[in-house]
Symmetry: C2
Subunit: 129 residues, 2 copies
C-alpha cells in the first residue's frame, strides 16, 4: 500500500472534469437523453412520461436546462389549450455529446480495470462494441 511512483503523474486521472454538473444530474440527464432522441422537440407531457418525472420536478429541471441554454421551451396553443414544447438547442446537443464522451471514458476505464481481473465477470461486454 505504498504510494507507487506510477500514481504521481496521474493527478486528476479520475477527476472527470468534463462531467458538467448541469447535465449530470439524474433527472436532467433523462430529459436531455429524451430530447436528443427527438430533435424536433417533445411536448411537456411526453417528456414527463418518458422520464418518469412529476410536473413540478420536470418544470424545475427544464428551467435549469433553459437557463443553461441547453434547451428551448416553446409555449403555444393547440385547440385553444396551452401547450409547452421542449427542444434541445444546438449548444445543448454539443454539450451533451461532450458529456457523453466522458461517460464513455468512465466505461472504458472500468472495462480496462475489470479486463485485468479475470476472476470477475463484467455485466457489460466489450465484445458487443
Amino acid at each position: 500500500m505504498k504510494n507507487p511512483d506510477s500514481l504521481k503523474n496521474k493527478a486528476g486521472r479520475f477527476a472527470y472534469d468534463g462531467l458538467d454538473r448541469v447535465i449530470h444530474e439524474k433527472a436532467r440527464l433523462s430529459v436531455l437523453s429524451s430530447l436528443i432522441s427527438h430533435p424536433k422537440g417533445l411536448l411537456f407531457s411526453d417528456v414527463k412520461q418518458l422520464c418518469g418525472l412529476t410536473d413540478g420536478n420536470l418544470s424545475r429541471h427544464l428551467q435549469v436546462l433553459h437557463e443553461a441554454r441547453l434547451i428551448d421551451i416553446l409555449k403555444s396553443f393547440e385547440q385553444n389549450r396551452p401547450q409547452t414544447t421542449c427542444r434541445i438547442t444546438a449548444q445543448g446537443r454539443r454539450q451533451y455529446l461532450q458529456y457523453l464522451s466522458v461517460l464513455e471514458q468512465i466505461v472504458r476505464d472500468a472495462a480496462t480495470a475489470t479486463e485485468s481481473d479475470p476472476c470477475e465477470t463484467s455485466p457489460f461486454s466489450l465484445a458487443s462494441r
Copy 2:
C-alpha cells in the same frame, strides 16, 4: 408536435432508474472509478490526488460510500504515522458495474439518436467500439 401513439408505450423509457444516486454523484463516481481500477486499495492521499478532491470533500464522500457498503475504509500505521486505505467491496464492485451498464445504455441511446441524424457528427465514434 402531436403526442404520437408510439410514445405511449414508452413510459419511463429515459428514466434510467438504475442510475443509483449514491454512485452517480460526480465525486463519488470518481472515487469508485479510481478504486475499481485499483482493487487492492488506495491510500487516502492517492484517491485525493487521482480524483482532484480536497481532504474534506473526499472524507465526506468516503463516509457516504462506506455507509452504503460500497467501500471499506482501513485505518493502520506506517512508520508510526496513521494512514487510511480505501478499497472497493465486492458489493461495491457489483453495484458499480450495474451502474455502468446504465451509462452504456445512455451512450447507446444517444448514438442511435445521432446516427439517425446524418447532419450531425458525433464526438464519439461507434466505429471504434
